[in-house]
């Protein structure tokens, strides 16, 4: 398929994780020729998000992958002054995988022939039926007589049908389309209430496969973090929609409580005394501009943050809130790191909503795709499912001069950016680097951990019981387009300590029920229907590579995107030292649409003609338009940055 690829590029990027994608976009934006490839048939590598069936397939694949022998990483070309660096396909980036299912699996046997292998041939009749049903729904929009159709039951079972059935069919696990207005929202709340009695089975989860978008590496964007600024500046924000995290929770005693974020929330909360509130506000006001008061923390700068908080005579509870819920750091960080993290949180408050965090609809995996699109829009060439067997290294200059494709074609380039998990295992450390590895768990549950009437994105930040490490959790519901209505996805993440299940077990047990009626508050906690645990692994590159090969860790353990953006900018400046990093597209008013000579110019103007139609304050698209949005975003036009 790739035989008609051009044979010369400025930069070849291998792996479509977020920092690679940002760098690739930045490079084409200033006119570099970029080839961007990934061995998988999806974008993102360890940053991907999957539908339920694809997640099962990914798990299966990761389980079966055995790490290969450590072969010599280089082959000498006999008659030239070149050697080849052999890339690998079997570096284990996922370890300690476990899958547990707690819902009724029985119906699967009956319907076994309808397994959800995504790609299977669908029955055109069923599609038609689903579509006619869709049309009927569109016409009548409320009760559809089609759902009484005797054959509709057959339609329900097919995993490949359009999830178009908007009607309230009590038997059907299909819930209504989430892309909906206010009227639909009311309807869907109704649907949730009607469905609380419903027991989801494993087959339901499989039938609803396409409604899931389950991230491998969930992270949150700080509203004033570098990624948000980059999204606005580059206009990539137009490709993705966001939702503000609605609540931040933590434990107090053994109860989940809401962390007060805004000033008004601090004043109205009953979690602390008046005195504590005053202390907290005083400390937070200091945090916002801590650099100006160096005398107040100089002495503690490199000492633990917790010691510093003690020096402010803050109560235990307040210390917990500040360390784990505002700075969101582990207890042993230094004062200066803690203050910087807390400042970052505070600065991001109120920009787009009550909390300082944004979550992309459909998940974080949209972000690498969005930057890849920007790259493609400016001429980058994309090949998925492309393995690169080797890199060519010129021994005289010790530089990489190109790649060899799986079809033996040589493609030359002056720089290579590569996800380090594509490197031969002989060049990587034997053991995972725990600073670059994380423990993950994904749960599908039947109920929110903090049930309310509205649709929420909930962040929770929970220290382990011995306070030695911090576990962060994220609960996502149907409004984020990442799971079907009536179901919730909970992600847990922490730095890898031993293995995912052990690291996260304690929090898991306190949050969820696994069996019916277990414990006295058995019906209060959400019940886990299905879950998986795994570690995402990063290794160190042991050997020095030629300087024009830049490596990227496959994952990043930070909660936000600060280091990812820094990494991308760093790689970009390594290749183009004096260029601006993703300059904004030209101002729409400066473009004159020239109808007579559309060649090239016509295309440029075409794009910008698109921008001209949009208002300035639309730079980041939000799901719920709260009042603050317009005022805060409009004050942040790119030229002010």
């Amino acid at each position: 398929m790739a035989d008609d690829l051009p044979t010369e590029f400025d930069v070849i990027v291998i792996g479509t994780g977020l920092s690679e994608a940002i760098t690739a976009a930045a490079l084409t934006r200033i006119g570099k020729k970029v080839l961007h490839v990934d061995k998988n048939d999806y974008y993102g590598g360890q940053w991907a998000a999957f539908t339920f069936d694809k997640l099962l397939a990914w798990i299966e694949k990761a389980r079966n992958l055995k790490s290969g022998e450590k072969l010599p990483p280089y082959i000498q070309d006999t008659d030239t002054n070149q050697k080849r660096l052999l890339l690998s396909n079997d570096v284990l980036t996922t370890l300690n995988l476990e899958v547990e299912c707690y819902c009724d699996k029985a119906p699967e046997i009956m319907k076994d022939d309808r397994s959800t292998d995504g790609d299977e041939i669908y029955n055109i009749e069923e599609i038609e039926m689903a579509q006619s049903q869709r049309d009927a729904d569109n016409d009548e929009s409320s009760e559809s007589p089609q759902s009484q159709d005797p054959s509709s039951e057959d339609v329900e079972k097919t995993p490949n049908q359009h999830d178009a059935d908007k009607s309230e069919n009590s038997k059907s696990p299909q819930l209504q389309a989430p892309s909906s207005g206010v009227a639909d929202q009311v309807g869907s709340n109704q649907a949730i209430r009607d469905r609380t009695a419903k027991e989801f089975t494993y087959q339901d989860l499989k039938d609803l496969w396409r409604r899931f978008s389950i991230d491998l590496l969930p992270k949150l964007l700080l509203c004033r973090g570098p990624l948000v600024e980059l999204l606005i500046k580059s206009k990539v924000a137009r490709y993705v929609e966001f939702k503000c995290v609605t609540k931040i929770l933590t434990y107090r005693g053994n109860r989940l409580v809401q962390v007060p974020c805004s000033r008004s929330e601090v004043f109205s909360t009953n979690l602390m005394s008046m005195l504590e509130k005053r202390m907290l506000m005083k400390f937070l006001s200091f945090c916002i501009e801590y650099e100006k008061h160096e005398d107040k923390f100089k002495e503690y700068e490199q000492r633990p943050f917790s010691d510093y908080l003690k020096s402010w005579r803050l109560s235990e509870d307040l210390q917990h809130f500040i360390i784990h819920c505002i700075a969101m750091v582990e207890k042993n960080v230094t004062t200066i790191e803690g203050l910087a993290a807390a400042q970052c949180f505070l600065q991001s408050l109120g920009r787009f909503g009550e909390t300082p965090f944004l979550w992309p609809l459909y998940g974080v995996a949209e972000l690498p795709q969005a930057f890849c699109r920007l790259c493609a829009v400016f001429g980058g060439i994309y090949c998925l499912r492309m393995t690169v067997p080797s890199l060519i290294i010129d021994e005289t200059s010790n530089r990489c001069t190109g790649i060899i494709t799986d079809e033996g074609q040589k493609i030359s380039c002056s720089n290579v950016i590569i996800d380090s998990s594509y490197l031969p295992s002989a060049l990587l450390s034997d053991e995972p680097d725990k600073e670059k590895s994380i423990s993950r768990a994904i749960f599908i549950t039947n109920k929110s951990i903090y049930p309310t009437e509205t649709d929420e994105v909930i962040l929770f930040s929970l220290p382990s019981s011995d306070l030695s490490y911090l576990i962060r959790g994220l609960e996502i519901s149907a409004g984020s387009m990442a799971c079907p209505e009536g179901l919730y996805i909970v992600h847990l993440t922490c730095l890898m300590k031993s293995n995912a299940k052990d690291d996260l077990q304690e929090v898991t047990d306190s949050l969820f029920n696994f069996e019916e009626n277990s414990g006295k508050d058995g019906n209060k906690k959400p019940k886990v229907l299905w879950c998986t645990y795994f570690n995402q692994i990063g290794y160190n590159v042991k050997e020095r590579l030629p300087s024009n090969i830049l490596t990227v860790d496959p994952i990043d353990s930070e909660m936000s995107f600060k280091s990812i953006v820094a990494k991308a900018e760093n790689m970009y400046h390594n290749i183009c030292p004096n260029e601006e990093f993703i300059p904004s597209p030209p101002d729409p008013e400066d473009i004159i649409i020239d109808d007579t000579s559309p060649q090239k110019n016509g295309k440029e103007t075409g794009e910008n003609a698109g921008f001209s139609g949009c208002e300035e304050n639309e730079e980041i698209r939000m799901e719920d338009n709260e009042d603050e949005n317009t005022s805060t975003t409009s004050s942040l036009k790119p030229n002010e940055m």
Binding site: L5, I127, D163, R210, C372, R373, M386, G602, G606
Partner: protein, 163 residues
């Protein structure tokens, strides 16, 4: 009068004329030797149908389809999709069926689909009959039109019908 915004995405093999169709619709121009799409993120145009304004936000593939690199993000939230084939290249009609299938599986529910047989001005080189194409379009419940970005035939009509 409220303006309804519609996200519309184009699909189809490289070189069938997706970008030319958009260019004709948005700017009413044609460029015979246009290269693969560069620099066009998306274009927008507002049209009025039955006293209702529709603002199209038209997403082109940016060439990502060429080596199987089209991202699911591309279809997110699309209200409509136009799948384009070239009536002078039978192969592009075969792969059209794959695009339709991909949309049905991965696209949003309630997506309005239209199939466009482009380059209808090159009738003498035709390899795909109107009848075959229409039959297929009917079978997947899609709108169908033969278009020509060169002569502008049916282009506006296609977009109007989608709304």
């Amino acid at each position: 009068m409220a303006v309804r915004e519609i996200k519309l995405c184009l699909l189809g093999d490289a070189g069938v004329g997706k970008s030319s169709l958009v260019l004709r619709f948005v700017c009413d121009t044609f460029n015979a030797c246009s290269e693969s799409t560069i620099g066009a993120s998306f274009m927008s145009k507002t049209i009025e149908v039955n006293e209702q304004s529709y603002k199209y936000q038209i997403w082109d593939t940016a060439g990502q389809e060429k080596y199987r690199g089209l991202a699911p993000m591309y279809y997110r939230g699309a209200a409509a999709a136009i799948v384009v084939f070239d009536i002078t290249r039978e192969e592009s009609f075969h792969t059209l069926k794959d695009w339709v299938k991909e949309l049905q599986q991965l696209g949003p529910p309630n997506l309005v689909m239209a199939i466009a047989g482009n380059k209808s001005d090159l009738d003498e080189m035709r390899e795909v009959s109107s009848h075959d194409a229409r039959t297929f379009a009917d079978s997947v419940d899609a709108l169908f039109a033969e278009t020509s970005a060169l002569t502008a035939k049916n282009v506006l009509e296609l977009f109007v019908e989608i709304s």
